[in-house]
Symmetry: C2
Subunit: 322 residues, 2 copies
């Protein structure tokens, strides 16, 4: 047992994960599909220690943050059949406060580094399902490019699976992250999805449509039809946000500036730019477009949204030890 460092990149879902069928094991109601991005990642170093310790972005973490970390390390220790305590040092590399420092890259990097530090050498599928226990979407950040989180039914069969690279590696795709707001969200993803599952009358239809959208977007990716990919992803994201408006109490992650950004994207589309958006549990917008057009689209958008910071990201690699 010695020190290991891993890097994992964040991923953005094109078909959304929004609701846990099993909140303990983090088994989702529907399968989802994401793109891992090159610009946003977490680097995590894990060292055997006498007590669990956690430093995030150079800040020592205590209280609930450390308790949550220890609970996840306990899952990894149970798997490794060891009591070894660990010191975790983690840094999020996000160019600006882009609302993209998601738990996905963090838990994926931690899983890779900590399992190595506990003496394990695990296949990616096992890393993916262990990462899932820390944060559902982290199971997708174990892999690069397009990744399907196959919902499964048990702890053993719910994990990420990369789409066939032969079908996807030459797809001309990028995402432009728009920084609408960097203030903390009022409803966490975890609370938001639990509230939606429990109270939204639209949730069952959303789950059903996600399965249909997943089949359709995989066909569009295989056909390299970026317009179809964008249309399906945008509609899927709006359906997810619609479930929240129907929850009790209703809630929403839309800010006025979010709608301004959406209107700007729709305006670019009428001008012939191929660009679509997706949006997660926060006000920020991610544009789906061709990598070859991303600079031009970002420039055109900058004229409509002069105050909004933008980061162009391309498909990124899977999590790995460095």
């Amino acid at each position: 047992m010695s020190t290991y460092t891993a890097v994992a990149h964040t991923n953005i879902a094109l078909i959304k994960y929004w609701g846990k069928k099993d909140p303990q094991l983090i088994i989702p109601y529907n399968s989802s599909l994401s793109l891992t991005l090159d610009q946003f990642y977490t680097k995590t170093t894990v060292t055997p220690a006498t007590t669990d310790q956690f430093t995030l972005d150079a800040q020592p973490i205590t209280g609930p943050g450390l308790t949550k970390m220890t609970a996840f390390l306990d899952i990894l220790r149970a798997y490794a059949k060891t009591d070894q305590k660990l010191a975790v040092t983690s840094t999020n590399h996000v160019p600006t406060a882009a609302g993209l420092a998601s738990s996905a890259s963090g838990l994926a990097a931690l899983t890779v580094a900590a399992t190595a530090a506990l003496g394990l050498n695990l296949p990616k599928q096992t890393l993916s399902r262990l990462a899932r226990r820390g944060s559902g979407s982290a199971c997708r950040s174990i892999y690069g490019g397009f990744v399907e989180w196959q919902k499964g039914q048990t702890d053993e069969d719910s994990y990420g699976v990369p789409l066939n690279p032969a079908e996807t590696t030459d797809l001309d795709i990028a995402m432009i992250a728009l920084v609408i707001s960097d203030t903390a969200k009022t409803v966490s993803s975890r609370q938001g999805m639990a509230n939606t599952v429990a109270t939204s009358p639209f949730y069952p239809a959303f789950v059903q449509r996600c399965e249909a959208d997943l089949t359709a977007i995989k066909a569009a990716i295989a056909a390299k039809d970026l317009q179809q990919v964008g249309e399906i992803a945008e509609a899927n994201a709006l359906k997810m946000h619609a479930t929240m408006l129907a929850a009790t109490p209703p809630f929403s992650y839309f800010l006025p500036e979010t709608l301004q950004a959406i209107a700007a994207i729709q305006q670019l589309r009428t001008q012939g730019y191929l660009c679509y958006f997706t949006m997660d549990a926060g006000p920020n917008i991610k544009i789906i477009c061709a990598a070859s057009q991303s600079q031009r689209i970002a420039q055109a958008l900058k004229k409509l949204l002069p105050k909004v910071a933008m980061v162009i990201a391309k498909p990124g690699p899977g999590a790995k030890l460095i």
Copy 2:
């Protein structure tokens, strides 16, 4: 047969009408409930003439507007068993461009004046179902105060029914209309609801929830529980708008300024003001509050939304000849 003039007031739905089961007869998928308002009305004069003519807000109307008018007058003429042509002069009385010049007050006033000009003296229930054929929500403007549009199943049994006045006339209620934008909407109500019915996977659950919301709000009105009335109405409106986000293609009536107004209302609530909102097929917001607090709420809101024009409206009367 001679000249008749009628006045009808607009109504705002607390439980929404959004979708026609029978587009020809305008039979809705669910029953709805509205409040007729005193501040916004249409005054319409109808005179026997040699050809159908239509003047709206002092402008002679030709083309599709006149064709639509003639088609509705044909329905009334068929009922009256006459071929008499009519000259219609209509004026919308809306204090500002409030986006409240709805077709409801217009078609209700027209029905009352035109049936009289055709020599009929009809009970309100018949006026209500005839007005429905011109514009669904017009069937509610035949009556004052709270009105339920009982969906029915046929042309004969789909009409407005006023709630028991004994239960409602002393309810301390008002609406504050916020003028967010007076630009024409991009998707008409008619197109919007047809698109939602045809494509939104959330529509069946919406219809189901409307029936439950209707039962609940009638109980809240009877109990004079304004907070419950507001909560149910606000959640019902958001569910309606959520169905549109899930349509193919998705669409929305929210503008950035709509979200700013909603945030301001939510802020007033945290300060102890009892105020809720509803929203129809356009970006404007109507606040539901106690009439006795409406001035105070409008003043507090004016500080948060200095550019937004506001009109306080109280329960208004039913349509009648003057």
